[in-house]
């Protein structure tokens, strides 16, 4: 398993947050250690995941894609079929249930594409907590549908106008809100990032993806896959997809990050390819930044991957050589988005399309006995109008 020591993954991780939050994150760590082993909590969470979120999610054999690409046998882990349409629900049900048990009456969260915001608003509605979501103003434009969805669910959505007005700034603003009101509020961090214990908590709640996928592939094929592939922004679906395969050394772990308009341009969000070691948003990890350590204004067509950092455990998996990370450009992702729709009849999230794109490029290099599992982290309804626009079609009235 990963080398977690005091919130550290190798040299990465840690707790770089203002003093005002320190007692709270220590308290959170204690509560998590308790509930993690609490039968009542686990029973409740399992029941929510099964009866409400629709788990286990399907492991689908993509036969047409397999034949068309002419190489590895391709399976798709269908996180897009979860309630609320993405893997984000796995984490928020865990965190919001825990927040409620901790006596919190209000949850706040950042969101990029809106998937985590929608999931948090959903869990808060179900479990009866107040909910406020912080979203970059630019993202509220790109993802109007999700903004309205969150409001329907009873959440208050704040459009963040500071900085680059995207995911990074939404995290800044949620942190500022949490520092202002910590006694009754839990920050439902949406990815495997931020100060310890968040990277661990989110990874644990997301690891259900690989727990199921591993069992499912063994049942269907009697053997482990050659590779598992997932998109990486902060890295929560990838960490969930990787986690239970880390000890299976023969399984390649491949993360696909947002190359934007190319890693040789400034319009990219490919942290592993272009970032440098730094300390930001509570953690030591890799970040896109300039020589003075100013965080770079990153870019991707995908609001959910448009983040200048990456979770500390991913940074560690890369350092140790256990996982590899590849950039996928906007063009490649859009092509994959259209390809999987036409080939398999699945409209996936533009984030997930980054993972699909990598498999499209590499599947033919493998033999038909090799198995690849793609984590399809979310569904793509939210992206349809942006993709249409990318193709020069205006579908808005």
């Amino acid at each position: 398993m990963s080398d977690l020591n005091n919130g550290r993954y190798g040299i990465h991780g840690g707790q770089y947050v203002p003093e005002t939050l320190m007692n709270e994150i220590h308290h959170l760590e204690e509560c998590y250690e308790f509930y993690k082993n609490d039968k009542e909590f686990n029973d409740e969470l399992e029941s929510l995941l099964k009866e409400y979120a629709g788990r286990p999610s399907l492991l689908y054999y993509a036969e047409k894609m397999t034949k068309d690409l002419g190489g590895a046998k391709i399976y798709i882990k269908r996180e897009d079929l979860n309630h609320t349409g993405s893997h984000k629900i796995n984490n928020v049900l865990g965190q919001v249930l825990m927040a409620k048990k901790m006596g919190k009456t209000r949850v706040i969260a950042e969101t990029g594409a809106g998937q985590h915001g929608v999931a948090t608003a959903t869990a808060a509605a179900l479990l009866g907590l107040e909910c406020e979501i912080f979203m970059g103003r630019e993202d509220t434009e790109r993802q109007k549908l999700n903004v309205y969805r969150m409001e329907l669910l009873g959440a208050k959505v704040h459009a963040v106008t500071s900085g680059t007005q995207t995911l990074k700034d939404a995290v800044n603003e949620t942190m500022r809100e949490w520092v202002s009101r910590v006694h009754d509020t839990h920050y439902v961090l949406g990815s495997v990032m931020g100060p310890h214990p968040f990277p661990m908590i989110v990874r644990d709640f997301q690891s259900v993806i690989s727990k199921e996928a591993r069992e499912q592939i063994l049942e269907k094929e009697g053997r482990l896959p050659l590779a598992v592939v997932a998109c990486v922004g902060g890295g929560s679906n990838a960490m969930g997809m990787f986690y239970n395969f880390i000890n299976d050394k023969e399984v390649k772990l491949i993360g696909c990050e947002a190359g934007g308009k190319g890693v040789d341009t400034f319009e990219t969000a490919a942290t592993m390819a272009t970032g440098k070691l730094g300390i930001f948003h509570g953690m030591k990890s890799y970040f896109c930044q300039d020589d003075d350590g100013q965080i770079a204004p990153v870019y991707s067509i995908s609001a959910g991957l448009d983040y200048p950092g990456v979770g500390p455990e991913h940074a560690y998996l890369r350092d140790s050589g256990r996982a590899e990370y590849v950039p996928i450009t906007d063009d490649e992702a859009v092509e994959a988005f259209e390809y999987i729709a036409k080939t398999e009849g699945i409209i996936c999230a533009i984030e997930s399309a980054h993972a699909v794109a990598h498999v499209m490029k590499t599947a033919k290099n493998y033999s038909k006995d090799d198995i690849i599992i793609i984590c399809l982290s979310g569904r793509g309804d939210k992206d349809v109008s942006a993709i249409a626009k990318y193709r020069g079609v205006d579908i808005n009235e």
Partner: protein, 257 residues
């Protein structure tokens, strides 16, 4: 005696903060002198950062103005060198940890020492992560100023015992910014800090009026004012000098009552 201690010697310290490079590095130098003329005892120089998570809207905007104007970290050290030619007033940096880390921690503190910085405040470096800079800061004789928050409770002992220079008591929950009312029970926080350290205590976050300066300087050894100063600079830009001097005079004289 360290320069920081001088700020509190037989007087209540008025500590003024400004963001370097807003509207220009040259103006920052002038504004520092104006604050000193007005009576400031210690100057806290904010190094602009792209994502200042502990700051409210006023100082956030100053950070953006400074960076848009092209401020680089190298300019900060030049600024300090220039100021040091003219004054022995204690100077501390307020910076986020990534700035120090990316510059190279040892090199950063070496430069602090050479240019004449006396202390450093890093809002996103809590007690537990102090090892990140401790060795370099000690080697180059730069005090690490610790922050104590309204939520610190049992951590006060831990933090105060290892404090250097002065102890920065954060008056309120949340980010920096002017507040009309501060609700925290600062008296009891200051009292418990005193149990564990002889270092002077300054209160900051939200203080902007002479009335507040008077009240909190009675409670502690000094007050820190940031957003109110930055607001003056936002309003008067290049011409802020005389307003800053007047403001410092007003605050300082309130603290003598």
């Amino acid at each position: 005696m360290s320069r920081i201690k001088n700020a509190f010697e037989n007087k209540k310290a008025f500590i003024g903060f400004l963001t370097a490079g807003d509207p220009s590095i040259e103006k920052t130098e002038e504004f520092i002198y104006k604050l000193i003329e007005g009576g400031a005892d210690l100057i806290e120089i904010g190094i602009p950062f792209s994502d200042p998570i502990a700051e409210g809207p006023v100082i956030q905007s100053a950070n953006i103005r400074s960076l848009s104007g092209g401020t680089r970290i190298s300019h900060l050290f030049e600024l300090v060198e220039n100021v040091r030619k003219n004054t022995e007033i204690p100077l501390v940096f307020l910076t986020y940890i990534n700035t120090v880390f990316k510059y190279g921690t040892e090199e950063f503190f070496k430069k602090c020492n050479e240019s004449g910085i006396d202390g450093i405040i890093i809002p996103d470096l809590p007690f537990e992560e102090k090892a990140e800079i401790k060795e370099s800061a000690e080697k180059y004789d730069v005090d690490i100023i610790s922050l104590i928050a309204p939520t610190s409770e049992d951590r006060i002992k831990l933090i105060a015992k290892e404090s250097q220079g002065f102890v920065y008591v954060v008056s309120s929950m949340g980010v920096t910014g002017m507040r009309s009312e501060i609700k925290t029970d600062l008296e009891s926080i200051v009292e418990s800090v005193r149990k564990y350290t002889d270092n002077p205590i300054a209160i900051g976050f939200g203080i902007n009026s002479p009335e507040q300066a008077e009240k909190y300087s009675k409670l502690a050894d000094g007050v820190i004012v940031g957003s109110a100063i930055v607001k003056i600079i936002e309003e008067h830009k290049e011409d802020s000098g005389k307003y800053l001097k007047e403001y410092a005079e007003k605050m300082k004289s309130a603290m003598k009552n």
